[in-house]
Point group: C3
Chain length 200, copies 3
């Protein structure tokens, strides 16, 4: 729950930064922040035909994002952007781990086949950022920056399947899978790993 | 009902204008017009898991939009575009009022919490235009033009909550809230109000 | 079933080509290919509130697309792109025919009104490509290239309505309608038919 919050706030902040870069207004900032934070989980729930969404069940997330936007409006300045982007590398990895592992568990609980559960887990973590980039009119970074991000989530999500088949307690599975994803992601960042390039 | 029609047709026309600007073909024009007119309400209904959509329940709206596109194809010329855009300022404000207030009522009837109902009301009115702008490959105007549009809807939608909590008749609530939004929007237009700018 | 496969693979390949053009990475390629192949049918099923999606019911399609992406990564080179694009003209027409006719039948089976069933049929075939183009940040070709594509599907979809009202066997209706669409589409391609242009 606390870790989920880390993910939501980080994703919202990454939306804010993008909105600031594109000089969106307050409405655009709030919408892009919310889309980035809630978009992935909402898409997963629409695909699974699952209600209520987590931001309906716990509306404090909505107020939190609105508060964050007001705060950013008042205090965020241009010189903060780059610093913030570096500062959220760790929280962003935590978000990737928690959302992917948690999303995979949710999909498994709805009796999805293994590969579908894994993909829905990855979508939960990645699609908020994809929607953010589509809205601000650029090709999604997740599809084009050759960084191991979705791929790390994809790899770790299979640990959820493993834990599930071994009947591990749900929280243990979540912790192990998310921890693996966070670690692998940070190793990829610090080692500068790259996805293999097209030979076109 | 009649007012709802004003909103649908206005939103369709704003889609047509955008399609004409981008030199889309007839298919693109019809799709963008329909997306602008139906997109917000359809998104709301998907989020609420509510069927049938209003354009399924009353297919005359579909035929109406197709007719509008044929008409535009035959008679709309470049010199009409700017004139039309000014001419739809009032109808567009009416659309904003009716769709926001009506959308909020629909969400309340589905037992959504207050803030969710308000946001779904605003989405009903605003998201058609957002989808229109995404499809024609530009950053949504609603997010970047610093005009009080969504914000006006957001403010007025709380009147629906007020009316609901005071047990006003549904039509009275709709009228008061929508009227307030239309008035506030037109004041904002004529006074040239702007959203506060980023200090970046 | 076999013909459906022709459509899915062709649409995936058209996604691959676009991803290669935009220099997306492997993740982007797989996502765009899957979005192009599955997007139209998935949107149709979301609008109809219909589950499970066909790619959940038969996960081999997912593995197929992943395999296709690995294959493309290894063997697709720049000089193949134009050749591939010409080579998929026929398969693409088959995909248009099968998806439109099949999608219309699915919508009819869910008791949609005639015009809605026709539009959902066309969306099934066309919206994968629309999503592909939105994601790679260009105006959808289906809306702007003045080629008779959606219009051909729209025309042929009414044959499904005809067959349905005459109580033809379902497979006969599918064959006649899809065949009509494939033929009309290929005639349009070889004769170079164009949609009427705006006079703006």
């Amino acid at each position: 729950m606390m870790f989920e919050g880390v993910g939501i706030i980080t994703f919202a902040v990454s939306g804010l930064i993008e909105a600031a870069r594109k000089k969106l207004d307050f409405v655009g900032m709030a919408m892009v922040a919310a889309l980035t934070a809630f978009g992935g989980g909402t898409l997963r729930d629409i695909l699974l035909d699952r209600r209520p969404f987590f931001w309906v069940q716990n509306v404090n997330w909505i107020y939190g994002i609105l508060g964050l936007c007001v705060f950013a409006m008042l205090f965020l300045r241009g010189r903060h952007l780059e610093f913030t982007e570096r500062a959220i590398l760790w929280p962003d990895a935590i978000g990737l781990g928690i959302f992917t592992a948690g999303g995979t568990q949710v999909a498994l609980a709805e009796h999805m086949p293994a590969i579908v559960a894994v993909i829905l887990g990855v979508l939960t973590a990645v699609f908020g950022g994809v929607l953010r980039d589509i809205v601000v009119n650029q090709i999604p970074r997740a599809f084009s920056d050759h960084q191991p991000y979705s791929v790390v989530g994809f790899t770790g999500a299979w640990l959820v399947l493993l834990g599930d088949s071994l009947n591990w307690p749900s929280l243990l599975t979540l912790g192990v899978s998310a921890g693996f994803i966070v670690a692998l992601r940070m190793i990829a960042v610090y080692r500068g790993w790259r996805l293999p390039a097209w030979k076109i």
